[in-house]
Symmetry: D3
Subunit: 243 residues, 6 copies
């Protein structure tokens, strides 16, 4: 345990961490954090349409998706990426996998966590993962879970941006300026070769969230010209010394 | 216009700023802010029961309530307190008073604002004031309002704690540690001689919000022993450089 | 001021009190309450389509609607019905009318109040009246409003059933068995000659709310066979000595 | 009164109809509708920052904004655009202006209406206009309002897309494919010379709403390749003959 | 795979499809759809009180309920009804049954689906089924699930009317005129011999939803005289070419 | 089965029933009810930090927590307390345990039930228990579950007060005056030796809920001087004979 600040991303499928919080990852790596990404599945069945259309087998799809995710992680300078390979559509997390995830949280001791929105009628894997993130955070906080290990403090759980935000009842309360790492995020996005149709989509999102950043920071009245941003919804309240 | 940081409180009745954000005021004064309080009314009709029972006249009630508020402001080291004397139960703000309030915002140029919750079925003056705070903030941001004056940036509007939070649908997202100024807040509270029944009530609130501060800062796992806190709900998202 | 229990209904238009809480009125009269109904308008412009199609003048429409409401009030054994004649579509309540309504509340000292749902996109008069009910209740509670008069306690404000409940976000938390006064309510309904199309509608409502009464009272397991009921949403929490 | 289908847009400020429903306007004109736009103000004080920075006077700002809006209306092939010139920041609608707006609705007899989201803490003019749209729709439906005129039916009120949708609690339930009129919308957008920073913003929005259109129409499984879309939230339920 | 349009109903218990969407089923059969009903259980334990009071055994109850459901299906001219026999109170769906349901969706390729409301504190089987409907829809859309089969598009999931709508937070956004098939729905209802107390209840519902149909279609101003209707809440937004 | 009134508390962890509804328990025992408490776990892993820090083993922690809970139950004069010992963080309830809980409900035949809030991001055991309470209540109501046993009626499920109410979306609609049993509740609280930091916290809560009791009962206008209270949120509507 050193003084290095850390963060943990829990991603249902291989690519989620790229579109939804790639900027936050790259930026915090730059700020000196060590960011770990846990991919619960490769999104092999549900988010790899092009590969299946090309006639790939399940093992091939998983291998390709893994490579894409590893490449994206490199582009974002991710500290560590772990693949749980639990299957998708539906994702199912049994007791042992849950405990393995708790072990990871305890090892990482994240200052903050990132995961999916609490509701997503298009993708029940996403809401299941959001619920799971709360559960494993709770277990990691228990003094009686593997007594002797360092228990978890009270890290924020930020919900990253889902697709079609309004349908998920997701409301961002925090905008992060990712302008200086945008090139890294775009590079990571371009590792996702099977989802070409989303490259420009999430570039648009980043540009428009930049507008929101400026609007809420008083940018129009002369503030910083943030060009790209990401939005997050906090589950827990903040504790501060100054408003 | 100097570099001094400033804040503005919009309080429907004379005492609201004491119970609901007295700690935030004292703390920010200590941090070097200049905090201005706008009292739209004295709470003369609706929140001065004891004085009416004692047979005071309207003018006497208003004078006493004003003195109490001034004393509390002194205890909190308020930079400036302004009384709009617009009447209460119901509070009615005409066009000219609204513009006077806009003038004040423009003069203060607050880094953040504090006002009431958006809903309060017990007290329609409170929700009217909350709506008003949004309206005058918007007007103060308009380049075409009194052109030439410095326009307002995008200060956060924090909703301070209402009485019976759950009935108001108020959900705090920010807890402020006010331990070091608690004595000042308690002293200000004790200036409110006609509302003795609320002294211990808001002391309990501050203690229990201290518990929430600790719980959310990881205090149980070895963090700072905040004893007193205040909670706030943000209307607008934050713009940050680090999560 | 006697020991008689009292209740007050604030109805935007002449007929609202009949469809929405006619059973509650008749039942409480039977229980010994004195129930007063305040009709803010006759619903002359917006809820008298048939009369306008028949070529009636404004004064004729108002007179007919007033008579209908008086007849319905008689059928329900209403203690007192007062017509404020403030106009409808839109209903506008000026300061003096508001104070007149406060005077009425103070005179009645209701144990509970009944009015409209807080939201109604079909009928802005309804949501305006709901807001108004909260405001005048608050003013009547103020010790400094007409000092010397008896101030109001803390009567419940029940929101009666709107048309198309789900669109209004109205959720009943209280079902009242009106079986024994159903004949009176039906008779009152039949006084509304211009709204024939609603007679069976609100009969259906009463029958189905009876089903809800039984379902929630454990009726299926052998409880009381309530046949007709009305639903209400409470604004304020209850204070009880037994759960 | 002919058989031509009509629609009515109620826009708080001059440019709102362009960003938020310009595609819907152009498309319905193409479909044979006559679309009328009511601009309640020019957005002269609050949404013309560049012009004020350039030292223009109030009258000059209003004239320029009017010309921009007229040009945009031409680009969209708007049937009729009417300027109410009621002032902005804050927008205030007195009784006579309200009645003038009711007259317009009655004259147009729209099959559907378009206006602002019900909540907008950044811009109280917007939520005021949304509330107003409900009120004037209700008045226009009243048989007793100007008896003899044709009363309004039950047109849908669609809420068009606000800026920062999630902050407004706006959730689209209808996506309209505007691909074939996109060039017209972009041309109209470019008439708004003082708000250059929003041109690409709303182009991004249109592209991403196109993605949402495809996602919800089953486009990924082989549906129509809509490239641009607009989203709308319905206030009222639909009445249909087939699901 | 032909061009026939299809629909799929997922019903937790045997009778749910009758009360809640019997009209929609009969109407769409008439419109040329093939409507399939999946009954996950017979409602044998929880919704067959009369049979248990009569001393029937579990197998007898199931047989009787199945016959009732088959008769109702015939009355509604259902294309296909399938019984999953998974047990009720509580309903439990294991992995294999879930996959069997996915197979059914893939085989049917429904243009739209119908199931329960997302919340129901009276009946956890209902909310479990609603969640399940989203999950199996998602799996059926995955290109990697049983590669080679035709994947599902993006059918709407309509939530049909629960009992005590307001308690479930259910808000209909679509009303369907079922007047021309009402006799069929009533006949189907009367197949449910053990639930006599609900016959008139759901007749009342249909009549009053007819009122809502007329009110929202402008019926009062001269529209179609729909007498019976059903209401539905859409989970997903619509994609349209005309508002 | 006698005529004695009964109540049932379902508590996720050993101490929950003390902080959250100890007053309700003691008061109803005094009123002649027999109150049964079901503790699903001892809170051994997640809510016994001090014991783990002291180096206790799992069995020791469980024994100590059980003794504390039994002592608290005695102080509150609980009729019966049952320990299910299902483990915590996470609590997992298998089919057999669920049925054992149903058996208990059937045996108790509670007039009302008490359990956790529906949402709790800090503690997924709590929301799981709330969901479970609804499920077992439903099963106990089924005539086909263990036919021959007395089925359950329709007892209210009151959600008792969670920690940080606003984060849980918990809104009390019922305040119970517990002044006369406060000494018992405080004594029970003091049995929880490992959670000393919560003793004053929940004393503050009780005092401030007393304020809410008085505020909503009209106490300021001369009502009963309740000093301590507890708040509850009802899941189901009430059925009454008088408003």
């Amino acid at each position: 345990m050193t003084d290095t600040k850390t963060a943990l991303v829990i991603s249902a499928h291989a690519a989620d961490f790229v579109w939804r919080c790639g900027g936050a990852i790259a930026l915090h790596q730059k700020l000196g954090y060590e960011v770990t990404v846990a991919c619960l599945s490769y999104g092999e069945r549900g988010e790899s349409a092009r590969l299946w259309k090309d006639g790939k087998t399940l093992e091939e799809v998983k291998a390709i998706r893994r490579t894409e995710a590893e490449n994206a992680a490199k582009a974002l300078n991710v500290h560590d990426i772990q693949f749980f390979d639990l299957g998708d559509y539906p994702l199912v997390v049994d007791h042992d996998s849950k405990m393995k995830l708790v072990d990871l949280i305890r090892a990482v001791q994240p200052k903050f966590m990132l995961s999916h929105s609490t509701y997503d009628p298009y993708n029940t894997d996403h809401m299941y993962t959001s619920q799971l993130a709360l559960e494993v955070r709770m277990i990691a906080q228990a003094w009686g879970h593997n007594p002797g290990e360092k228990v978890l403090g009270a890290p924020q759980l930020y919900l990253f941006e889902p697709h079609q935000t309004e349908q998920m009842g997701w409301k961002p309360d925090t905008f992060l300026d990712i302008t200086e790492v945008w090139d890294q995020k775009r590079a990571a996005i371009e590792c996702m070769e099977g989802q070409h149709h989303l490259w420009d989509y999430y570039t648009n999102v980043a540009e428009n969230r930049g507008n929101h950043f400026r609007r809420n920071s008083g940018g129009q009245a002369g503030g910083r010209p943030a060009k790209y941003a990401e939005g997050f919804q906090s589950i827990f309240p903040r504790t501060v010394d100054e408003l």
